[in-house]
């Protein structure tokens, strides 16, 4: 008869089993072997860290790592801030420089120190502007002037606030120091205004010079145009002379008056220009004859020039 075993009975049967214990001698032996190996492994691990991975990894495997990282971050951050201190408009660190100035001002507690610091900021802006002038970085002048204006306005605001506060407190000594700062600030402001005025005058002068230069250039261009037309006329006359020479060759027995009449007709009719052009080839062929006839044509040439001039 098959007996059906329930789940609980099966679980109870499984749990009832008691296991054999490990032999005590074997257990102790295993323990000794394990401890011996543990000593070797520990030493090897230390040596492996130091020898194979180097002292850097060894240090970074220890709790020193956060300290080293923090030191590096602090030093690099301080280096960046120091580098930013000498930044000028156009430099990458220039915004950081201005931000650091604002931060320093926020952390300054004494009113006198605040006023003096804003004065220093204005001086720095003006120094930067001078350096830019020396280096002839004209494109950065506008930005520098704008920053100088802002620094001056900010310094004036701070100075006014501080002045009111010190008057309320009746602190005579601080008030004198602040007045001294105010005088220096006025001096810097005047200097800045003078610089701007000088720049404006220079700009006006430059514009006038440019204008004059443009006018001169225009006049030169007109003259050159006149010369060009005169040369063209002269060429035309030469061509006409050649034409005349050709006619002279064709009518060797004709007199100088007849040649003059031909020239007058040429001037009055534009259609004769084709004849003039076609005469160039003839003149090349008859170069010797041209030379011979040049003296004879000198009178008619001078007459033509006078007529051209009169037309103009």
């Amino acid at each position: 008869m098959k007996k059906r075993i329930s789940q609980d009975e099966a679980e109870r049967f499984i749990r009832k089993a008691s296991f054999p214990d490990m032999d005590s001698v074997a257990k102790e032996h295993t323990k000794q072997v394990m401890l011996s190996t543990f000593g070797d492994v520990t030493n090897n691990n230390e040596q492996r860290y130091i020898n194979k991975k180097g002292i850097f990894n060894y240090l970074f495997s220890r709790p020193m790592a956060p300290i080293i990282i923090a030191l590096v971050m602090i030093l690099s951050g301080a280096g960046t801030v120091l580098a930013a201190d000498g930044a000028r408009p156009g430099d990458m660190l220039y915004p950081l420089d201005k931000a650091m100035e604002q931060t320093r001002l926020n952390f300054t507690i004494s009113d006198q120190a605040k006023a003096e610091f804003t004065l220093k900021v204005v001086e720095e802006r003006q120094r930067e502007r001078t350096e830019l002038e020396v280096e002839q970085k004209n494109n950065l002048f506008e930005e520098s002037d704008k920053d100088t204006n802002q620094a001056l306005e900010h310094a004036q605001e701070v100075l006014n606030e501080v002045r009111v506060r010190q008057e309320e407190q009746n602190n005579e000594r601080a008030r004198e120091a602040i007045e001294e700062v105010g005088d220096k600030l006025n001096e810097l402001q005047e200097r800045h205004q003078e610089r701007i005025q000088v720049e404006e005058q220079n700009e006006i002068q430059n514009q006038e010079q440019n204008r004059e230069q443009n006018i001169e250039d225009d006049v030169d261009e007109n003259n050159s145009d006149d010369n060009g037309s005169a040369n063209a006329n002269r060429n035309m006359n030469q061509n006409r002379n050649m034409n005349m020479n050709q006619n002279q060759n064709q009518n060797i027995n004709s007199n100088m008056n007849q040649n003059g009449q031909i020239n007058e007709e040429d001037d009055s009719e534009d259609s004769n220009s084709s004849n003039i052009n076609s005469s160039d080839e003839g003149s090349d062929n008859n170069g010797v004859d041209d030379q011979n006839g040049s003296e004879e044509n000198s009178n008619s040439d001078s007459q033509d020039d006078e007529e051209e001039g009169g037309n103009q």
Binding site: Q7, E11, F13, K16, P20, T30, K31
Partner: protein, 188 residues
């Protein structure tokens, strides 16, 4: 068989061992050597072999201790039983031929040799025979669940299965055991 020491105590011992403290290592060995031995001896059915494997497990523990980190609530107990399971798999792989001969011995009387079973109660012998009729995974699950009082989640970490699969396999294994017990008319 739950840890007598709290997980925090065990964690402190592990940290001490990682720092090179031999006393912590000794204490860990005393806490876990019997449990590892039991896990192995019921599977290999040979005491000396189980002792050798236990030694291998603890030597592996010593060598890998610097790599152990308490991550995602992986307990040291779970980590140590993972090592034991891997050593057992290695043993099975190396002794595949021997196991096949053992299987033949069940049917061939001339191949049968008496195995040393000293001071072992009858329940142990019975349950061992029954467990050997289960699959490898089911043997693991039954042992860890009933003799180590591990949760399906912990067993899943050791065996590399999901917790649901562990529950399903445990149920199948238990049904199989019930059937075997019913079939053999064993007196409980």
């Amino acid at each position: 068989m739950k840890d007598k020491n709290s997980p925090e105590d065990i964690q402190k011992l592990v940290q001490g061992a990682q720092a090179g403290d031999s006393m912590s290592v000794t204490r860990l060995y005393e806490l876990f050597s019997e449990r590892i031995y039991r896990y192995l001896v019921i599977r290999v059915s040979h005491r000396e072999t189980a002792e050798d494997l236990t030694q291998m497990v603890f030597l592996e523990m010593i060598r890998s201790l610097h790599r152990y980190k308490k991550q995602k609530d992986v307990k040291f107990t779970t980590w140590l039983f993972q090592i034991a399971r891997h050593r057992l798999i290695d043993y099975y792989r190396r002794n595949k031929t021997i196991l096949q001969i053992d299987e033949l011995a069940d049917t061939h009387v001339e191949l049968q040799v008496e195995q040393e079973e000293v001071n072992v109660d009858s329940y142990y012998s019975r349950i061992k025979k029954i467990l050997h009729k289960l699959s490898e995974q089911q043997q693991n699950i039954i042992h860890l669940f009933y003799y180590e009082d591990m949760s399906p989640g912990e067993i899943a970490e050791i065996t590399g299965m999901s917790a649901i699969t562990v529950r399903v396999e445990k149920h199948r294994a238990l049904t199989k055991i019930r059937n075997i017990l019913s079939k053999e008319h064993l007196e409980l």
